[in-house]
Amino acid sequence: MIGHRFGRLLIGLVSVVVLAGLLWPLVYALWISFTPLEILQPPHAEWSLRWYREFFTQNRWLEGLRNSLVVGAIATGVSVICGTSVAVAVVRYRFRGSRLLHGAVMLPLFIPALILGMALLPMMRTIGLWGSPFAVALAHSLWGLPLVFLAVRTALQDTDIHMEQAARGLGASAGQTFRLVTLPIIAPAVAVGAMMAFIISLNELVMALFLCTTNNDTLPKVIWPNLRYTLSPLVAAASGVTVLATFLLLGGAAFLQSRYTRNTS
């Protein structure tokens, strides 16, 4: 009994430390975003909204945020569609070339972003995607794809196959079965995969550096080059706004989703 309590306490403690450790730099950075100074220093006596004001008055930053969300959404969509379907192929079917496909899906993660960006630039220019958010988004989905794939593969592997069989027996085609049965059951894994894909796109710089043009610069593309010079607290403010914006979007989506499911059930 005592061992049990102790174990629980220990797990709780580790988790709280990990979660706090994860959040701390962010909290620190958000604190900095209220500094009146021009360098990355937490405010001491006096707090100020100056950097937020600056953020909202500079078109480039606002647009960067908007572009980031658009690119992230496209990249997430593409990654989820590709990653989930290829996971179905690999897990549910046995066929020649399955292993090769498996390897190929993982491959993008093994290639440095720099190389991807440099090689994709001329390609995007030839296909004519350069200048549209799809150029960066598709590049980002190269990294999102394997992550969604891995997350979904694991979930598919231990989903009860009887469930899918039952659906097929009830007359559902393979596609319907997937949409109406498999997908809802593995939804948490797909959500995790999607989340990871979105996060990666939101943070990815190097490919963006090559594939963005001025009218669709993502936020990292706006922020990062500043690193060469003294980074201003504007970056911290940008993070504050990003966190807020993404959360509002996600929360809104979740809210609509719950409304929708409540209405339909």
Partner: protein
């Protein structure tokens, strides 16, 4: 098997194939091609050094140079070391955390997951510089350590291997936690109840039921952490010293500071090969993990 059935998996794979063939094949070939060019360097004929590469040339010189270069092997060694250490730390810390989150009731679970995600929604730079402030010689961590008397002089937590590991862990661990959590969510709780009923205390129920059932997720989380940590760029770049250079950092250095493109490309190939080898090697324990987890057989 009918032709239609034989084609079905390819139908499912089609979107990814299009994406991969369309966008990946070219970069991969490009990378290899570039690594086979002659470097500009001192022989560029311009009378100045560092001139990218000479188009249209073919040579294996760069690879020869890499093979003989202790510097490259050091960097490779550090990259692998960092990958393994970060993966280990991530798994060790993420598992209890994911388990803890899994056990939380509805609302609080959402909050905890939100906390994990939110750290990745802010700019990487903000996270890293936030961390840098925290890990400074006179930062809160060092002050705390000195206050507890564990140490008397500030520990070098920034611009050091410790900083790189801490930073990279911070960047990777949210993925690890999310993947492990998703795996744990699929563990059937009635099985835990059954184990308890058979006399297993919480710990034994964990080691004998939860753990084996979460092995596939553990395997995936390990793989993702490993790949991500092997490609580490930002935290060695900003939290490390030149002693802690990884391949990803050096590719960038070679290309844009030293202007030696073939060398950068060759190191890129080296990175690809290294990660591929490690990921393949990992397939062995991975398969073992899957086999011991009760994952059901796929449809024949």
């Amino acid at each position: 098997m009918s032709k239609r059935q034989r084609l079905t998996p390819w139908f499912w794979a089609a979107p990814s194939l299009i994406l991969l063939l369309g966008l990946l094949l070219w970069p991969a070939l490009q990378l290899i091609r570039l690594s086979l060019c002659e470097g500009g360097g001192g022989q560029s004929g311009f009378g100045i050094g560092g001139s990218f590469y000479k188009p249209g040339t073919w040579t294996l010189a760069v690879y020869g140079g890499l093979g003989a270069d202790r510097y490259f092997w050091d960097i490779l060694g550090f990259t692998v070391w960092l990958g393994l250490v970060v993966t280990l730390v991530c798994i060790l810390l993420a598992y209890p955390t994911a388990h803890f989150i899994w056990q939380l009731p509805g609302k609080r679970k959402a909050v905890a997951l939100g906390a994990v995600i939110v750290t990745k929604l802010s700019s990487l730079l903000v996270t890293i510089y936030g961390l840098k402030l925290i890990l400074g010689d006179y930062g809160p961590v060092n002050q705390f350590l000195q206050w507890t008397g564990l140490t008397h002089r500030p520990l070098m937590l920034h611009d050091s291997a410790a900083g790189v590991v801490i930073g990279e862990t911070l960047l990777v661990i949210p993925y690890t936690i999310l993947l492990l959590w998703a795996g744990l969510e699929r563990v059937d709780r009635t099985l835990l109840a059954a184990a308890r009923g058979l006399g297993a205390g919480p710990l034994r129920a964990f080691t004998n039921v939860t753990l084996p059932l979460s092995l596939p997720a553990l395997a995936t989380a390990t793989l993702v952490s490993l790949i991500w940590a092997l490609g580490a760029f930002i935290s060695p770049y900003l939290l490390g010293s030149p002693q802690e250079i990884t391949l990803a950092v050096d590719v960038q250095r070679q290309m844009f500071e030293n202007l030696n493109w073939p060398r950068g490309a060759a190191e890129g190939v080296g990175m690809l090969v290294t990660i591929s080898i490690l990921a393949t090697l990992y397939a062995i324990p991975h398969r073992w993990l899957i086999q011991h987890s009760g994952v059901k057989e796929g449809l024949a």
